[in-house]
């Protein structure tokens, strides 16, 4: 472990902007949500009434259970999406400082100096601990400051702290298994999505002690029950699991060679197949496994969400307390539409993430100097980048169609509505596409004109996500909410289809893309160093 402290400081130096940015911004969110609730519902009775109206299985499936109908309980419930984001961000941070470093060969350079072989891993875990502490601390302070109650705020902060730490530790183990940082990120992301799905399925039935929710890491963490007779032992269990995972990561790191994973790489073909021999063929080869990953994810999530929606509608129908709520909302069918629309809105953001990821691939190929030999051959710039942009624009479009199709199948078969649901839901999913394209086009514009800032695409996406998920709760004014392209989409299924905003979004996306491509044709290629 010699040298851990130096590597920790080096990691801090590399992350001096990104780490404070995401930990502080995201850590402040629960507090902001709490103060917003406090001003919207100054009377606790009003808030409790609101909580009762929200406490239906469909929303429980999306956000998790409302443990307490008070300010703290509602805050914990409504900001649960932040819990997922901070967990993922910590996992990526750990991978960035372990496997990504090794893959780039920088570990080798450092490994030859007076640095122990565990130092890199130890430094990455220290960074994760730091990030978790900032996020958890700010969450606790923020909610307490908004008047949500001290004990519960501590429990909520602890929940955020442990979510970060747990997924950081999971990522540390995964980083030992694969040779590529990209695969490691995928596996960590899949663990997170899997645990979200488990929790969703468990909570959708209305049973708050469903075993599915208990075995889901996210569901488990939410069962700390902040603000409602806190179960502190849950936190204790998570600490033990984190310690165990860290020990496993150390052990794996100690027994393997530098640069090797436990999943070994096999020899491949000595000759290229004809399909590879073009810029598009190369892009297909580089992007296909990611595309398939997303498509499988959409299909699984679609079926889950579809059947969970129906389960939720049934549970609402059976609940006499919610009778008038259902009446106000226009019956079971429209509740189902609302839940599906909410699910599609989240999938739309996911699809935009897919598009941003595919577009950023062009930039990472360029910075890794792998675009250079291709562009030094008889390949024009537009043709090269076009191969990747095809995946950035049409990958998410395909994904949303798959999502809609499977959501429709899931809901249609569970509810008995059958084939009619498929067309309705798939159409509603397709409506997300223009907003996705607009988001991707921003990345293309950055890539062409401000290539060093291309990865800001993620920040733009996170901004749109937070505006959509929390903008209304934070009482932002309409013009601020309208900054997100997703706010202009018609609410489907159930609402009216308005075509004008869709046409505008597509036209703007086309203009931004054209400007980005023109910029790319005129600028210097990155020359590394």
């Amino acid at each position: 472990m010699t040298g851990t402290w130096h590597l920790f400081r080096l990691a801090l130096r590399r992350d001096r902007i990104v780490l404070p940015l995401w930990t502080i911004l995201l850590g402040l969110f629960p507090g902001l949500v709490a103060s917003s609730f406090a001003s919207l519902y100054p009377d606790p009775a009003e808030l409790a009434k609101f909580a009762a109206s929200m406490s239906n299985p469909s929303l429980t499936a999306v956000y998790g259970p409302i443990w307490a109908p008070n300010l703290g309980g509602m805050t914990a419930w409504r900001s649960s999406i932040i819990l997922l984001i901070v967990a993922l961000a910590t996992a990526f941070t750990v991978i960035r400082h372990t496997r990504a470093e090794e893959e780039q060969g920088r570990r080798e350079l450092l490994g030859s100096t007076v640095v122990g072989r565990q130092a890199g891993l130890a430094a990455a875990l220290l960074i994760a601990l730091l990030a978790s502490t900032i996020v958890g601390g700010l969450t606790a302070l923020g909610t307490a400051a908004a008047g949500a109650g001290g004990t519960g705020s501590v429990a909520l902060g602890l929940q955020y702290f442990l979510a970060c730490l747990l997924f950081g530790a999971i990522a540390a183990v995964v980083a030992q298994l694969t040779q590529g940082a990209r695969t490691a990120r995928w596996i960590s992301g899949a663990v997170l999505i899997g645990s979200f799905l488990l929790r969703m399925l468990g909570d959708a039935g209305g049973d708050l002690n469903s075993p599915l929710s208990w075995i889901s890491p996210i569901g488990f963490l939410q069962r700390i029950r902040p603000f409602a007779a806190e179960r502190w032992w849950v936190a204790g269990v998570v600490v033990l699991v984190v310690a165990l995972l860290a020990a496993v990561a150390y052990r794996l790191n100690a027994v393997r060679d530098l640069d090797a994973g436990l999943i070994a790489s096999r020899p491949g073909p000595a000759r290229a197949s004809r399909a590879l021999l073009s810029p598009l063929g190369l892009a297909w080869r580089l992007q296909r496994s990611t595309l398939f990953g997303w498509l499988i994810g959409y299909a699984v999530l679609g079926v889950f969400l579809g059947s969970a929606t129906d389960a939720a509608v049934d549970a609402v129908k059976d609940s006499p307390d919610l009778g008038d709520v259902i009446g106000r909302l226009g019956g079971g069918a429209s509740i189902a539409d609302m839940v599906i629309a909410a699910g599609l809105a989240i999938m739309g953001i996911g699809a935009a993430g897919q598009g941003v990821q595919a577009a950023l691939r062009a930039r990472s190929e360029e910075s890794a100097l792998r675009a250079e030999p291709v562009l030094a051959a008889a390949v024009g710039r537009t043709r090269w980048v076009g191969g990747h942009l095809l995946f950035a624009f049409f990958g998410p479009a395909l994904g949303l169609l798959v999502a809609g199709l499977f959501l429709g199948i899931g809901y249609g078969s569970a509810s008995g509505e059958g084939g009619g649901a498929i067309g309705r839901v798939t159409g509603a999913a397709a409506v997300q596409v223009p907003a996705v394209w607009f988001t991707v086009a921003i990345v293309v514009l950055l890539f062409g004109l401000l290539p060093r800032l291309t990865s800001l695409g993620w920040a733009v996406l996170a901004f749109f996500l937070l505006l959509g998920q929390l903008g209304a709760i934070l009482q932002l004014s309409q013009w601020a909410l309208d900054l997100s392209p997703f706010s202009h989409l018609p609410a489907l299924p159930g609402g009216d289809l308005t075509v004008t905003p869709l046409v505008w979004l597509v036209a703007l996306a086309a203009a931004l893309t054209a400007a980005g491509l023109a910029g790319f044709r005129r600028r210097d290629l990155a020359s590394g160093g």
Partner: protein, 298 residues
């Protein structure tokens, strides 16, 4: 003879750093041209401008009579490039990369490809991430050599090769010369340039300081002489053009400007010569002199 590459007063800046500051370069058809300079002199930047990957800020650059920026795609059909820092796609095998790059350039001689794979002892079934630096360079070299491009642009292509492979590389380049191909070979390994190049250009801090055949360049410099004389070497130190004279009894060691070689040898033979070795200046000395000279006053 026509020029394949001609560069005049090329300027390229990155922010406030001036990477190329009036570079000149002429490469004639059919020659192996050494492009020499220490790390950071601007060799790779100049090559990237020639390939249309970077846009020049000033000066003129022509490649096959065309504009490397505007006509990039059509010009690239006629050349093959080996970057100084070869990075491969982690999931593609070496064989796949060779075929891909060859195809993107417009075609690949598969028989030659297989010969070269054998000659360079490359395992084409390994994935990009598992190759060492030298093996990554072999992949890029084989892809370039197996193409039927008129011009090979090689940016420090041997910096990761072992001496055995270095000699394979040299014999390949001699074959290319025989086949009438033009080669631009950037290098800081002088022995390699001496062994291969018809003409060289030496650059420093983004500017060409010397250009010509090795013979022409040698003319501007000094030969080292070790001689064993029959008597005392009186007065040799006073002759024009003699430098760094060391006298040990009847043995002398010195360097002499090539222009004065004749006079000095006559002076030696009047004393009487028992043994003599003379060494032409190596590129190394030429190089060092240029750099020392220009760094001195600054």
């Amino acid at each position: 003879m026509e020029n394949v590459i001609s560069v005049n007063g090329l300027v390229k800046s990155f922010g406030r750093t001036r990477a190329l500051d009036g570079l000149d370069l002429e490469v004639r058809r059919g020659e192996v041209h050494g492009f020499l300079g220490p790390n950071g002199a601007g060799k790779s930047t100049a090559i990237r401008v020639l390939l249309g990957l970077l846009k020049a800020d000033g000066g003129t650059t022509t490649l096959f009579g065309g504009d490397p920026w505007r006509d990039a795609v059509s010009l690239h059909r006629r050349l093959a490039y080996v970057p100084g820092d070869v990075t491969l796609w982690p999931n593609l095998t070496g064989g796949e990369v060779i075929d891909l790059l060859g195809r993107l350039r417009g075609g690949l001689d598969t028989k030659r490809r297989d010969e070269l794979v054998e000659r360079f002892e490359l395992d084409p079934r390994k994935k990009g991430r598992t190759y060492s630096k030298g093996n990554r360079q072999k992949v890029a070299l084989i892809a370039a050599l197996a193409s039927d491009a008129e011009l090979l642009v090689l940016d420090e292509p041997t910096s990761g090769l072992d001496p055995l492979m270095e000699s394979v590389f040299q014999s390949c380049i001699n074959d290319e010369r025989g086949a009438g191909r033009t080669v631009l070979l950037s290098s800081h390994i002088l022995a390699e340039a001496e062994a291969l190049c018809d003409r060289v250009s030496i650059i420093r801090a983004g500017r060409t300081v010397e250009s010509g055949t090795l013979a022409q360049l040698r003319h501007l410099t000094r030969t080292s002489i070790h001689a064993e004389l029959a008597g005392e070497p009186n007065g040799i130190g006073a002759l024009p053009g003699v430098h760094d004279l060391v006298v040990e009894g009847e043995r002398v060691r010195f360097q002499v400007d090539n222009a004065e070689l004749d006079t000095v040898l006559r002076a030696l033979s009047t004393v009487g010569v028992r043994g003599l070795t003379s060494q032409p200046p190596t590129l190394e000395e030429l190089f060092l002199r240029h750099y020392q000279k220009e760094e001195g006053p600054a």
